[in-house]
Symmetry: C2
C-alpha cells in the first residue's frame, strides 16, 4: 500500500496506472493530483495511461462571464448521466494568489454531482507560465479518459488566449452567450468564432435573446462567405483551395455552428443543445474535416507537451545564466537579443539563429 | 537609398537605426514594419537600438470590452501632447483571419492623431503562437522608445492571458471598467487585480458608477488585508516577509491602485486620471518597490525573447521530426511524452528530463 504523501517511485506508476484502468476512483483522484502537481513519477504514469486514451468525447464549455456556463454545464452533466455515461469535468479557474477560490464558489452549482461516483470533477487553476494551463488540463483529461470517463467537459471562464488554448483540447466546443451583450459581441467575436462548434444563447427568456441569436447567425453566415471567397481567390493561384472545396462538397460541406437557445436554470432546451453537439460529433467521426481536426489535435497535443518539456529542461540548464544576465540588462551593458542568442547557443550548440 | 521592399542586409540595420535615432519618422515606421514582420536583419536593428531604450514611460490601457478604452486612450494622447511629449501608441487587436479589421474600425476614434507627426500609432494583431504577441509588442515598443517617444500607450482589448502578458510590458497599467458590470467584476477580478496600477471607472455618468467604484475599492482593501495576513503568517517561518514588510514601511507602504471616475467622451476628469498615473510613476522611480518592478520587467523581457528564440530555433531543427511523429500518435504507436523527451534529447543532447 502506497502512502498518499510519498512520491511515486519504481513500480509505483505502473501499479497506480493499473488501478486507474481498473476504474478505481481513489486511484484516479490520486493520479490527477500527481499529474497536476507534477510529482516525481507523473510522466511514467502518463506514458502507461496514454495508450488507453482516445475514447472519451471531450466537450469544451466557454463564453462570456455571467452567461451561466456553470449552470449549463451542470445540466449537461445531468443529461449525460441519464444516458448512463461516466462523466469527467475539468473546471479551469483563473484564480490568483490574491483572490484564490473566488470563482470556485460559483461552481457550487455543480456540487450535487460531487456525490455521484460516476461524475469526476477536477478544478485547475491557471498556471504562472505561458501555455502551462493547457499542458496541465491536457494531462488531467488524459487521466480521466484512461479512467473510463466517456464524456469530459472542460469549462473555462473568459475568452482569453489561455482559455482558447484550453478549448483546443476539446472535440466539440460550446460557446455560451447571454442576451443583451450589444457591442460586446463585436468585440469578442474574433476569438469565439474560431473556437465555437455550437453556440448556446443561454438565459433565452431575457430581452434581446432573438437579436443575439440573429447576430450570431449573421456572423456564421459572414464567415461562410469569407471562406468561400478566400477559397475561390486562392484556387486561381494554387489549386489547393479548389481541391479543398471539392472535398468539402463531397463531405457535405463544412460545419456551421448552430445557434441554440437555452434556459439552463429551467432545464429548457438542453436536449436540443446536446443534439447539436451530437451532430457535431458525428460530423467529426464521419467526414474528412473530422479526420483533419483529429490530426490537428494530435499535432497541438504534441506541440504543447514538447514546448513545455523543452522550456522546463532549458530552465534547468541555463536558468542561472539567464538570471545573471538580468543585472547586466538593467545596467544596459547587454541587450536581451544577444543574451538570448548566446543562451540558445549554449543549449543547442552550433551556429544558432 | 534602400528600397522599402528589399530585406535589410550588411550595413543596412545600422543605417536604419541611425535614422530612427535621429528621429526620422519614416525610418521609425519602416523599422517597426521590419520588426513586426521579422524581416531578415530585424534582430541586428534591435540590437543597435536597444542601448538607446529605457527612457520612455510605458502606460498600459486594458479593461473590459465596451468600457471605452479607445476614447480614453485618445484623451490620454491629447493630454500628453499638451505637455509637449512625443507619444507612441501600440494598439493590440485580437483580429482573426475571419474578422480581420473588425475592431480596428473602433480605433477610428484615435484617427485625428494620425495627422500629428508627434504621435505614432501602430496596430498589432495577435499572433498564432503562444507568447508571440508580447514578444512583438515588446520589440515595437523598443523601436518607439529609441525613436524618442516619451510616453507610449499600449492598448489591449480584453483581459485574457495574452493581454495580461502584454500589460507586463507597461510601467503603469490603467484598467478601465464601465458601471453596471454587476457580477462580472467578481468573475474578472482575478486577472485585473494583478495588473491594475490605476482603475478608471469610465462612463461615470451612468447608473451604478458609485457602486462600481465601491466594489473596486473593496477589492483593493481586501487585497491589502490578504497581503498583510500572508506576510505575517510566513514571517513566523522564514522572516523574508517580515523584512519585506519592514522595507515596505520604510518606503511608505506598497502601492494601492486608486480608483478614478472618468467620462472620456466629455473629457471629464482625465487630468485626475493622469495625476494618478504620474503618482504611480514617481512611486516606481523613488521606492524599493519600483526598483523591484524594474528588475522584474527586465527579467520578463529577457524570458520572453529567450523563449521565442529557443522555440523558433527548435522548430527549425526538429520541426520535421515533430511532424513525422504526429502520424504515429494518431495510430497510438507512440505517446507524446516519450516523443517530446526524445526530441528534447536530440536538441540538447545528454540525459534530459
Amino acid at each position: 500500500m502506497i502512502s498518499d504523501e510519498r512520491p511515486v517511485a519504481n513500480r509505483a506508476p505502473q501499479d497506480l496506472a493499473a488501478r486507474v484502468l481498473a476504474g478505481e476512483m481513489r486511484a484516479a483522484a490520486r493520479a490527477m493530483r500527481l499529474v497536476d502537481d507534477r510529482t516525481s513519477g507523473y510522466l511514467d504514469l502518463l506514458k502507461v495511461l496514454y495508450p488507453h486514451t482516445g475514447r472519451a468525447w471531450i466537450v469544451g464549455v466557454t463564453g462570456t462571464p455571467g452567461a451561466g456556463k456553470s449552470t449549463l454545464t451542470d445540466r449537461l452533466i445531468e443529461h449525460e448521466r441519464k444516458r448512463g455515461r461516466r462523466v469527467g469535468v475539468v473546471a479551469v479557474d483563473p484564480t490568483s494568489p490574491f483572490t484564490g477560490g473566488a470563482i470556485l464558489g460559483d461552481r457550487i452549482r455543480m456540487q450535487r454531482h460531487f456525490l455521484d461516483p460516476q461524475v469526476f470533477i477536477r478544478s485547475l487553476a491557471t498556471r504562472g507560465h505561458l501555455g502551462g494551463l493547457s499542458r496541465s488540463a491536457g494531462d488531467v483529461i488524459r487521466v480521466l479518459d484512461a479512467y473510463g470517463c466517456e464524456t469530459i467537459f472542460v469549462e473555462t471562464v473568459g475568452v482569453g488566449q489561455d482559455e482558447l488554448e484550453v478549448t483546443r483540447l476539446a472535440h466539440t466546443t460550446i460557446v455560451v452567450m447571454a442576451p443583451g451583450m450589444g457591442d460586446d459581441i463585436q468585440a469578442i467575436k474574433a476569438g469565439i468564432l474560431e473556437v465555437a462548434d455550437v453556440f448556446a444563447v443561454n438565459k433565452a427568456d431575457r430581452d434581446g435573446a432573438d437579436s443575439t441569436v440573429r447576430d450570431l447567425e449573421q456572423m456564421v453566415a459572414q464567415t461562410r462567405e469569407t471562406a468561400v471567397a478566400a477559397a475561390s481567390a486562392s484556387s486561381h493561384s494554387a489549386g489547393h483551395a479548389h481541391r479543398y472545396a471539392r472535398e468539402e462538397r463531397a463531405a457535405g460541406g463544412p460545419w456551421e455552428p448552430p445557434v441554440v437557445k437555452t434556459i439552463a436554470v429551467k432545464n429548457d432546451n438542453i436536449g436540443a443543445l446536446f443534439a447539436a453537439c451530437d451532430a457535431h460529433r458525428t460530423y467529426l467521426e464521419t467526414t474528412q474535416d473530422g479526420a483533419r481536426k483529429r490530426e490537428e489535435r494530435a499535432r497541438e497535443e504534441l506541440a504543447t507537451i514538447f514546448r513545455d518539456t523543452l522550456l522546463t529542461e532549458a530552465a534547468l540548464r541555463v536558468g542561472e545564466q539567464q538570471e545573471a544576465a538580468v543585472a547586466r540588462l538593467l545596467r544596459r551593458e547587454d541587450d536581451p537579443y544577444t543574451v538570448s542568442e548566446a543562451l540558445v547557443r549554449v543549449l543547442l550548440g552550433g551556429g544558432s539563429a
